[in-house]
Symmetry: C2
Subunit: 315 residues, 2 copies
Amino acid sequence: MSSYVVGIDLGGTETKIGIIDHDGHIVEKAIIPTQVSKGSNDVIRRIAQKVNELVDEKGMRNDILGIGVGSPGSIDREKGVVIFSPNFQDWKNVPLAEKLEELTGFKAYIENDANAFALGEWAFGKFKGAPNIVALTLGTGVGGGVISRGELITGSKGFGGELGHVIIEPDGPLCGCGSHGCLEALASATSIVRLVIEYRKRYPRSSVFANEEITAKAVFDSAKSGDELAELVVERATRALAVGIAGFVHIFNPNVVIIGGGVSRAGNYLLEKIEKKIKSYVMESFWDTFEIALSELVEDAGIKGAASIVYFRLR
Amino acid sequence: MSSYVVGIDLGGTETKIGIIDHDGHIVEKAIIPTQVSKGSNDVIRRIAQKVNELVDEKGMRNDILGIGVGSPGSIDREKGVVIFSPNFQDWKNVPLAEKLEELTGFKAYIENDANAFALGEWAFGKFKGAPNIVALTLGTGVGGGVISRGELITGSKGFGGELGHVIIEPDGPLCGCGSHGCLEALASATSIVRLVIEYRKRYPRSSVFANEEITAKAVFDSAKSGDELAELVVERATRALAVGIAGFVHIFNPNVVIIGGGVSRAGNYLLEKIEKKIKSYVMESFWDTFEIALSELVEDAGIKGAASIVYFRLR
């Protein structure tokens, strides 16, 4: 019985490939360097080769329903084409699905990686099967994926779900997108670190600067132990998240708002900060309609999200 | 051939009832006082009576596909029940559709009035049939309705699409919902008038105060003729709209954002102000993916929106 799928988490540095069963268990897994500089054909050829290897080693060629790929950038989900992707400079209109199908013999489906994350929660997460899911990934950037009435929000060109570029502070810090005060400019790991560094002169003795490398994790750790600067930046980031999530709740009336990505490792400390603030921004009639939760898929959220695309398309 | 529908625009003061054809032309129309204080049964009985009258006068009993009702408040669209409605105090879980069906013999469908407005644009507007529509009504409040991939965004309890309570200025003016700086608190007709009045001491000679009654229209007229206070408030309202719309564009990647309601009568002056600002807030990759337009249904947007519910449900 065909009931396994291959999930491919296409990343700028490394690509994770896994065989996953219907319950989200990883049967087999491999990580290969993406080596973007070698060009899209070479990248795709090596990924396909690794997929074939994994599948054949396990003798599972007849058990695979298809391949799902979570890819950064703009995706034509119907045609399975990567339109463009910021960290994959030569990838313009690359027919990724078609090429993978040729090279592996399996049907392939593609989604933007943030949408794949949302689908992973829908397929394997704590709120499995919920028809209305807002999913946020707090990492280098802030990614968003929304399932509404059991369908992904994609919009006219497939660009929808860019929750990270909703503006929280119209005169706030500059965002990579050119605008100011986007959720991404306040609550991504990158922004949290950048804001801390900007305050260095005012808080030179902050415990954050004792770290060899300043990471979002280091900032949350310092905040937990009462460091003034770290608390200030965490307050601002979590307020931005509360305001943004309140908006998503009013717009989508979701069953759950799920937070993943590196910053979500700050765990219950992060969650409690957001939950404490959110009621000030959400209308009372919505209070009991939603939960905020941290993703439990963690390390393997990428592969599982990619794999879930297949189950979602064939549901 | 059954190809007409009855549209009912249920309002706090008056209720508009019309028979509408598939192209959105109004064949017959009546307005009755709602008289909320008489209780829901009486209101529904009088509405049904007027529907029967209009239909029978025209001898159209066999030509009616069904009744659509646009109602303020929270609606259970599947069951056709008004859960609660702020200006209809005794309306709690009123089975409006069922009662109308009993009293008229026609199948009845209900939607929240802002969703009905969005459906009216989908059925009869300039962007007829567009699968991704964001609709905003700027009136006493700011209402929102969203069609994504040809489906209304409703969410887990049917509360979705509350675009007016997305927060634009987290420390901005108090909103009726209890939060601060919601789009509604900056860009509704009520808020525009309130902000002008708050500035009265600083701008006592503003031409706005020459009006017997200060309305949003009067504020826009004064702004057009260069009045400093009016310009200040219009700038703030249109900036809020630009920031809010930018967010909706990033979230929904819509074909069009349609603006209706009383404030939209400020016309091209309003539209140009928003269009001029919006590019500062929307990512470049989205620039050519959407239009902003004023509703052309104006006066009859309510009835037409209500009527469109039937065409939408039976599409």
